[in-house]
Amino acid sequence: MSIMGNHKLYKGSLQTIILKLLASNTKMYGYEITQKVKELTKGELKITEGALYPALHKLEADGLLNVEVAKVGNRLRKYYKLTENGTKETANKLEEMQEFLKTMQHLVNPKFSLE
C-alpha cells in the first residue's frame, strides 16, 4: 500500500479516512474519494489508486461497505456506502484515531500534557 503526499504516517489511516468520508457523504465512488481527499487536504494527501481500491474491497468483504451500481452517462459506476456495521466501526475507528492523536501529542509535545 502506498499513499503519496506525506509518507508513511498516513499509511495506517487509509481505512479510517475512507470510512469517515462515507459517513459524511452517504455514497461515493472511487474516483470521487481520491478527489475529495485531495480537496479536503488541499493536495497534501493523495490517495493512490493502487491503494484505494484494495482498501475499498477489503472494507466491503468485511461487511462494512455495500456496493451500488448506476449507469452514469455512457458508463457504469460503482458506489460505496456504509452498512450498519460500517457506521458503528467508523465511530470506533475515529475514537481510536483521536486517542492516537492525543498520545502522539503527549509524546511529541510533552509540555502541553502537564495536567
Binding site: 489508486e49 493502487g50 474491497h57 468483504a61 451500481v69 458508463r75 460503482k78
Partner: protein, 232 residues
C-alpha cells in the same frame, strides 16, 4: 464545455483493462470508470492531449504493478465472501431440523468403523465425492465458457462459486484424514474414532453445500453481490 468520453472510447478502455490482465468484468467496470473520470479530468487541464496519451498518463498512476493490486485484492475479497457463505450454510446443519441428520450421519459413520468393510466404505465415500467434484468442475467450466462466449463477460464471483470453491475443501480433508491402511483404521483409539467420524461427516456436508446448495442459488447470490449483473 468539458470533454466527455465517447461510447467507443469507453469500449476501448474495457479492452485496455483486458490487455492488462483484468479478466473479470466486475473488476473492469470499476477501473474503466476510474480511468474515464481521470482522463476527463486530465483533459480539463490539457485539452490538446490525445485520448491514448491521457489514458496512459492515468494508467501510470496505478504504479509499476498496474492493475495487479486491484485484481488481487478483489480475488481475496471474493474468496472471503465464499468462505463466509459456506460457513453460513454449514451452520444450518448444526441447528434444527438439519442437526438430526448431522447426528445420524455422525453416528452412522462412527458405527461403520466396526464393520469389516468400514475402511473401504470410508475411502469409497471420499472418492465418490472427489469424483463428483471433478465432474461438476468440468461441467461448470464448460458452461461458463459457453456463457462467456455469448455475453463476453466473466464474473469473478461466478467463477469462485462454480469452479474455484470445490477443490479447496477436499485438500483440507486429505490433510486431516491421514489413515494409510485398514489396519491403522481398525486400531484407532476412541478419540481418533470420533474425530474420524466427525471429519467424514463434515466433509460430506461441506461438499454438499459447495456442490449442490450454493450452485443452485448461484444466480440469486450473484445478483446480491453484483448489482451490475442485472443492469448489463
Amino acid at each position: 464545455m468539458a470533454m466527455k468520453l465517447t461510447e467507443s472510447q469507453i469500449e476501448s478502455l474495457y479492452q485496455f483493462t483486458r490487455q492488462h490482465y483484468v479478466e473479470y468484468y466486475d473488476v473492469q467496470v470499476e477501473l474503466v470508470d476510474h480511468l474515464a473520470n481521470d482522463i476527463e479530468q486530465i483533459w480539463e487541464q490539457q485539452p490538446g492531449l490525445s485520448f491514448n496519451d491521457a489514458r496512459d498518463k492515468s494508467f501510470k498512476k496505478f504504479g509499476v504493478f498496474g492493475f495487479m493490486n486491484v485484481v488481487e485484492s478483489k480475488e481475496a475479497q471474493m474468496a472471503k465472501k465464499y468462505f463466509k457463505l459456506v460457513l453460513k450454510f454449514a451452520k444450518e446443519w448444526l441447528s434444527l431440523p438439519k442437526i438430526i441428520l448431522t447426528l445420524l450421519l455422525l453416528f452412522g459413520f462412527y458405527q461403520l468403523q466396526k464393520f469389516t468393510f468400514g475402511y473401504e466404505i470410508y475411502i469409497g465415500v471420499f472418492l465418490l465425492v472427489i469424483v463428483a467434484q471433478f465432474f461438476m468442475l468440468f461441467n461448470n467450466s464448460r458452461k461458463l465458457k459457453q456463457n462467456q462466449k455469448q455475453t463476453q463477460k466473466k464474473w469473478l464471483f461466478e467463477h469462485v462459486l462454480s469452479i474455484q470453491g470445490y477443490g479447496n475443501t477436499a485438500v483440507i480433508f486429505i490433510y486431516f484424514f491421514r489413515i494409510s491402511n485398514a489396519e491403522e483404521f481398525f486400531a484407532m483409539g476412541d478419540f481418533k474414532r470420533v474425530y474420524t467420524a466427525l471429519l467424514i461427516t463434515g466433509f460430506l456436508i461441506i461438499s454438499y453445500i459447495t456442490l449442490v446448495v450454493i450452485p443452485k442459488k448461484a444466480k440469486e447470490l450473484l445478483i446480491q453481490n453484483y448489482p451490475e449483473y442485472q443492469i448489463t
